[in-house]
């Protein structure tokens, strides 16, 4: 996969959890992070309505990657972030992922980071990534994932849903439904050109 995963350990490997009943496996896997994520979601909601430019709440988000390793979003502090909520069963989500793959390759060196987030089992997501050649990180979670998506503006809880954050992790653009490649490309060009004022 990406080879970029910070091995922060903690959860059992994904293939072990895949043998547990789905609900229980995710209860165990997600329990440790759900409180944090919900808190982050709430903070994000507040930040998106009150202090839009303060993205510090997003940086506190931690979710397991498809291998089951907890990943802090803070590893991408200072990057332009594209957070895509998706699912393997969602055809329009699958259709736009090759465009995300192209844009990730195009803008990687300029500090743009894509991450796909779904509420499915890690092994399923890993298999999908392999089959369809998705190389940007795919994170998974439980109920906190749709909750986060909803708090970021996804009123009906549908997929795909994409939110773009600037280098200070403030939400800049949000789409429910496919994000047209050319619009996203020009937005990323604009955001990548802005460096952080310290």
């Amino acid at each position: 996969m990406t080879g970029e995963r910070a091995a922060t350990a903690g959860l059992p490997p994904g293939d072990t959890r895949s043998r547990l009943p789905r609900r229980r496996a995710w209860l165990i896997g997600a329990a440790a992070i759900v409180a944090v994520a919900l808190g982050v979601g709430a903070a994000l909601w507040v930040s998106s309505h009150a202090q839009r430019r303060d993205g510090s709440a997003l940086l506190a988000l931690v979710l397991p990657d498809a291998d089951g390793h907890p990943q802090p979003l803070s590893q991408w502090r200072g990057k332009v972030l594209v957070v895509n909520f998706w699912a393997t069963w969602c055809a329009p989500c699958r259709e736009e992922m090759p465009a995300f793959e192209r844009l990730q390759a195009k803008w990687k060196a300029r500090g743009v980071q894509f991450v796909g987030v779904s509420a499915e089992e890690g092994p399923k997501v890993l298999e999908f990534a392999k089959r369809f050649g998705v190389t940007y990180p795919l994170w998974v979670g439980g109920d906190e994932v749709p909750e986060l998506s909803r708090r970021l503006g996804n009123r009906q809880g549908v997929l795909p849903h994409t939110v773009v954050f600037d280098r200070q992790q403030a939400p800049i653009a949000e789409r429910v439904g496919a994000y047209p490649e050319d619009s996203l490309d020009s937005l990323l060009a604009k955001l990548a050109a802005i460096s952080i004022e310290k």
Partner: protein, 159 residues
């Protein structure tokens, strides 16, 4: 004209803070895929989805089970073939979908719970998460009149 109509399907909201948000106008799942059911006779339940215009359900994602009296397998009507780039040929339902769910044995006078799993999408290019719903039905006596349609209204989430 066409583009105006297409534009009308989308909400564009610009907030004071400058976030650009674009989303299609979407019905909540319980309206997009309205689910109800009734007991036809002591050993038959009729499940029904009323799918709103511009929305569709996947035939192979429909699942019906009953308890405490089990059912023998729902009689799904043929769907409309749709070619999907990733899923291949899939059958979909639009409009009214009526499914007969036969019980393994008559259950006159009992209360039977029908569980329905469904998943659908909107032509606007989004999909709703799998939605488990249930309705409780009072099963009529033999020779009695069919029971009333009972609604299920529960929100789903993407999983």
């Amino acid at each position: 004209m066409l583009s105006l109509a297409a534009l009308a399907l989308w909400h564009a909201t610009a907030h004071a803070g400058g976030i650009e948000a674009l989303q299609p106008k979407l019905l909540p799942p319980e309206q997009a895929f309205h689910f109800s059911a009734r007991a036809l006779d002591p050993s038959t339940i009729e499940a029904r989805f009323d799918v709103a215009d511009g929305y569709y359900l996947y035939r192979d994602k429909l699942r019906f089970t009953t308890d405490p009296v089990p059912s023998r397998g729902a009689e799904l009507p043929p769907g409309k073939r749709k070619h999907d780039e990733f899923f291949g040929d899939v059958d979909t339902y639009r409009g009214a979908v009526v499914v007969r769910v036969p019980l393994v044995s008559p259950a006159a006078g009992q209360t039977v719970t029908l569980h329905a799993d469904s998943q659908g999408c909107a032509d606007a290019g989004v999909c709703y998460p799998p939605n488990p719903q249930q309705v409780k039905l009072s099963i009529p006596a033999a020779g009695g009149t069919p029971g009333p349609f009972v609604d299920a209204a529960r929100k789903g989430w993407f999983k």
